[in-house]
């Protein structure tokens, strides 16, 4: 694993960021929604439609970070730009598949909002929850609002018993070892204050879903105020991808890494 880039803020600095940003003006917030895509020709259009539907009175921009999809995702995004405006939908593509963490960093560079939302492009994350994220953040002035599938009001559809068992077992193990302070560690539907995301992401080096875990655990360690909102997760790809032995090994390795280095 390579060295983390950039400066790592201390816990005290993290608390200062929390406090300073209460002094911001109420109601003058802009939300940058970063959506990494790869072969999501249909889904990206659906997501854009749903975001516009559910965020009517909110100032936001959608940043699509496409990794050179061969299925025409970028062409669709350009059509959407004609429909909704190039100031609302930003296409910031990359040449090839370069990984999720770097996709967020790339999107962050082009984000002009004071808040950043990250979400998946495959419609497992439904934009109808965006207002509840925003509301929770405004009520509590949290630095991070993370969606959780595992509490009442949330839920998962499309998982069989085995998948639920591994999910639950993995979660309990992570809770026992890491004391993360959130109920859903691997979730990737989150709202961050922009400065907080920049700080946390610069100190994360993992890949895949361990990256999502690392982000939230590092944020907890740095003392950032984290709130949760229930979300529902409709998994439409589960049937096609199995959770195999190698993924379990990767997960355990990730847990040990986080145990020792955070």
């Amino acid at each position: 694993m390579s060295e983390p880039i950039g400066e790592v803020k201390t816990t005290k600095e993290a608390r200062v960021i929390d406090r300073n940003e209460t002094k911001g003006e109420e109601g003058k917030h802009k939300y940058s929604i970063i959506v990494p895509t790869y072969n999501e020709r249909l889904n990206i259009a659906l997501i854009v439609y749903l975001i516009f539907k559910h965020l009517r009175d909110v100032d936001f921009e959608i940043i699509v970070v496409d990794d050179g999809s061969p299925d025409g995702t970028q062409e669709i995004v350009k059509q959407l730009q004609h429909l909704y405006g190039e100031d609302r939908i930003l296409l910031r593509a990359r040449a090839k598949k370069l990984g999720l963490g770097t996709a967020y960093i790339h999107g962050l560079k082009h984000a002009t909002g004071d808040f950043v939302v990250i979400m998946d492009a495959d419609l497992s994350h439904h934009p109808k929850y965006l207002p509840s994220f925003i509301k929770k953040q405004l009520e509590t002035n949290a630095s991070i609002v993370t969606g959780t599938r595992y509490v009442k009001g949330g839920g998962v559809h499309g998982w069989n018993l085995m998948r639920k068992l591994t999910s639950r077992g993995a979660n309990v193990l992570a809770q026992t070892l890491l004391w993360p302070g959130v109920s859903d560690l691997t979730g990737s539907f989150r709202l961050y204050k922009k400065s907080v995301l920049e700080d946390v992401i610069s100190s994360c080096v993992s890949k895949g879903y361990v990256f999502q875990m690392e982000m939230i655990v590092r944020a907890t360690r740095k003392g950032y105020h984290i709130e949760e909102v229930p979300i529902t997760f409709v998994d439409r790809v589960f049937g096609t991808s199995k959770l195999g032995g190698s993924e379990i090994v990767e997960y355990l390795k990730g847990l040990v890494y986080l145990l020792l280095t955070t």
């Binding site: 020709r41 249909l42 889904n43 259009a45 659906l46 439609y49 749903l50 025409g72 669709i76 059509q79 959407l80 429909l83 419609l123 439904h126 599938r149 595992y150 509490v151 009442k152 009001g153 949330g154 839920g155 998962v156 559809h157 499309g158 018993l161 639920k164 068992l165 639950r168 077992g169 979660n171 309990v172 193990l173 809770q175 026992t176 890491l178 004391w179 360690r221 529902t232 409709v234 145990l259 020792l260 280095t261 955070t262």
Partner: protein, 89 residues
């Protein structure tokens, strides 16, 4: 401080307590020797219990799949009228 340091300090504190118990012999030594095993086993049982409870209470949302299909149909319809070719999945 790092999390691992916190955990190790906790383990050291528990071990010190255990050694203290051994030396003071308030509780018969034969029991005290087995305490660490009891501790690990209880922790394991607790975790298994949490997995079981979590599994039983696992929140599901079958109605969300239906709602999602409705949203998808609505969006496809919208784009058809606007002339955006979204093709099919």
């Amino acid at each position: 401080m790092k999390h691992i340091v916190k955990i190790l300090s906790l383990l050291v504190a528990i071990s010190a307590f255990w050694i203290g118990l051994l030396q003071a012999a308030i509780v018969p030594r034969s029991y005290t020797w087995l305490l660490p095993i009891y501790f690990v086993v209880s922790l394991g049982c607790y975790d298994l219990l949490m997995v079981g409870i979590g599994l039983m209470q696992f929140p599901t949302c079958p109605q969300e799949a239906v709602l999602l299909q409705q949203d998808i149909a609505e969006a496809k319809d919208f784009f058809k009228h606007k002339g955006v070719d979204v093709g099919s999945d």
